[in-house]
Symmetry: C2
Subunit: 450 residues, 2 copies
């Protein structure tokens, strides 16, 4: 039986059997009390047993099989009264287990033991909620009739301008030698072209939106940036959507806001206790999610935002570039309500962003959020063949992206879309100080453990 | 309105508006008939319009917006009678569009135009069903109370012995120079260690099963193999599961069979018409899925399997190695019913597979399937600390995999798990001759388009 099922049921006084790991032990004169977790919930169940020769083996971290009677203590607490305790795997802290009982570890200490970190109550909560939140994202898009697309990790496209990129090649020198054609380099040997790790599935989704209508992807993307920030990872998840026949920025705002509110409501409805417990364990402040789920988000143009910043003594950088601090200040100034920041100068945004013919601005939006600043970035895509061709020529990308231009030549439609950084979203939801602690196996500059 | 909604409803004789792409045109003296697809379903809807000056632009491949009245023709066929047709994007086949009306293309021709391939009826069906099938896999594991884990794409672990592996490094020489420490090579510069693309999430799931109980992953894995086969890709999806407290091979069979049957039933219940249509378009034979969804799968030991092969004039290779042909023959011999092939010699299976102490065989299983041969591979994992340590020493892997060995040292539990090749499963389901045609953007030796 799972501990989650025990807590989900109202009945007691039945024989049960659980398997799990011992979280803490309290030894009395004649009895021993210990808490067991089995990973099915953040809640432990207390076991009470009479002391015997075996009791010495009941140790923090050990895996156990417990048979006994589930009862309700006078305090209302559920407990298992057991005289049948099997130790499956012992856990001798003197043999090098990195955790000892009743000790709090700093996140950076836990990150040195990625193979044991999931055994902490707080991080196992993160993993369960990460899984559920992922599912809510899929649910949202499916309810909205988007088709999910597995956009590729490997791509020959290196020109989305979303920062530095990783290259991929076979580890085996023999494979390279065997496959390398005469006019190709070693990094081109396997695929006849260089292959990179994707930084975004947008271009691939633009292909799909022109056949399948609305599409989304949810998967890993990569950045080879030497960043030491609490907001960046080398490998992270993005939820990306591309909407077919989209002409208006407003429709993009509506979709983004709907997604964020849908997922947040679902998580809060189903996992509020687990999140509260997580925040308590990490001594994180309580967060008022009503700003995120109940209020309409603010639309603000960049000029107004820059004026606000200037008035408050923190002017934007040359060329209206905003830092994380600028972003966070704006949200704070807006009373914690998320902001759709619009009307960007063309030069701040990539070549594929549509230019608004009346304002001459880039039809792009950044969604600014509490705690993380930019959570989503989106835009209408340039759907005018001649304008896009001109931009590709100016950026010297025409040869590489002829296929992308061709999408505008044959049965073209207007589209727009956005990407949401999944770990940044989790960081807001859970209040996690460092984004590295939202991922099962984080990868960042100088670290790729396991 | 989506075409799928039109077909889902029983009402007619209302005004509607659709947007989509023209699939075929039949021009009469006074009227023009054409079929429109909008990607929401494999079914087109017929539009009837009176001919006018604009009609010449109603062209194969163009994107259109149609307003008109939905009616039911005497034949029962739904059609839209429209006198309001807007061409959104034209499609001039003389300008280089690779497809012309009423022409059948070979799969390898379509693969040269990955950016237009999704517009074919058959491939868009593949993509929709791929999405739904992915969701059924998530649904199955969630219903069975598994927690989904995003196992990493980047890993420093290169030693699972599952074939050739890709290495990753930053494209930018400056980043490498900036980050490279004194005692590190260029490929170690970014992460302080070599980083590879994952070939399996198994080891990472073994970490998780020892904290969260049953876990699964569903995501991309990679092989740098120079294979020309119809069954292999360089990037493909695997559904992998790791079951906590698992002692018996039989429990693994039950889980695998339950997964495959659950997903197959869901797909057949919801998408049988689309699959039939796909098979018709590709002139593929009808398949009797009752062998897969209704019959109990066969458990066969390798010795018996080899005897069958020998009797039928196709002996297994030295060391009891089976080829694809051997696998397919066995399933055929078994009347098309899938086979759990067990009792493998230790030397045929990787170091992490548990050895059965009574038979001295590897506690591993291959699930053999019609059309693809091996669909799943699974095993009990060696959970004995001393035996595993011995094997790691013999394979010279102890230094690299000390963390993996440590999982057996502290709070250890028995686990077992399996992986299912998702594209192979789709290949069976849809009957697709080449696995490259089950993936939105296939990557294989000498090809990484877009």
């Amino acid at each position: 039986m799972r501990i989650s099922d025990i807590y989900a049921s109202t009945s007691t006084d039945y024989e049960t059997k659980i398997k799990g790991w011992i979280k803490s032990v309290r030894s009395m004169k004649k009895t021993i009390f210990f808490d067991v977790s089995d990973g099915s919930t953040f809640r432990n169940i207390q076991v009470v047993a009479e002391k015997n020769a075996n009791s010495a083996k009941i140790d923090y971290g050990s895996s156990v099989e417990i048979s006994g009677k589930l009862t309700k203590a006078p305090s209302g607490q559920l407990e298992i009264q057991s005289n049948d305790i099997k130790i499956i795997g012992s856990c001798d802290v003197t043999q090098g287990y990195p955790f000892v009982p009743r000790t709090k570890y700093e996140p950076q200490e836990l990150r040195e033991y990625l193979h044991f970190r999931p055994r902490t109550t707080s991080f196992s909560s993160m993993l369960r909620i990460r899984d559920r939140t992922s599912q809510y994202i899929h649910d949202f898009f499916h309810e909205e009739k988007f088709t999910g697309i597995h956009t590729p990790v490997l791509t020959s496209n290196d020109c989305e301008g979303a920062g530095e990129i990783f290259t991929v090649l076979p580890e085996s020198k023999e494979i390279i030698k065997e496959m390398q054609k005469e006019n190709k380099t070693e990094t081109e040997a396997f695929f006849d072209s260089k292959a990179f790790l994707t930084v975004s599935g947008q271009f691939h989704l633009e292909v799909m939106a022109r056949a399948l209508n609305n599409v989304y992807s949810f998967g890993p993307v990569f950045r080879a940036e030497n960043s030491k920030s609490r907001f960046h990872l080398s490998e992270f998840y993005m939820a990306e959507a591309e909407v077919a026949f989209l002409n208006r920025m407003e429709d993009l705002f509506i979709l983004i806001e709907k997604l964020v509110k849908y997922v947040t409501r679902k998580v809060l409805n189903h996992h509020d206790k687990e999140i509260s417990n997580y925040r308590k364990l990490l001594s994180l402040p309580y967060v008022n999610f009503s700003k995120i789920v109940d209020q309409p988000y603010t639309v603000m143009n960049l000029e107004d935002a820059c004026a606000v910043l200037e008035r408050n003594g923190m002017p934007a950088f040359e060329g209206r570039h905003l830092s994380k601090e600028h972003e966070l200040f704006l949200v704070k100034y807006n009373n914690g309500v998320p902001i759709f920041l619009i009307d960007w100068p063309q030069e701040n945004k990539p070549f594929y962003v549509k230019v608004d013919s009346t304002t001459n601005k880039a039809a792009a939006v950044d969604l600014l959020f509490p705690e993380v600043g930019e959570l989503c970035g989106g835009s209408l895509r340039e759907d005018n063949y001649d304008l896009l061709k001109q931009k590709l020529i100016e950026s010297d990308l025409l040869a590489k992206l002829n296929w992308y231009l061709d999408l505008r030549k044959f049965g073209n439609i207007p589209t727009g879309g956005f990407g949401m950084g999944f770990e940044r979203y989790l960081k807001v939801l859970m209040g996690t100080p460092n984004i590295k602690d939202t991922v099962p196996f984080p990868r960042w500059p100088h670290s790729c453990l396991l």
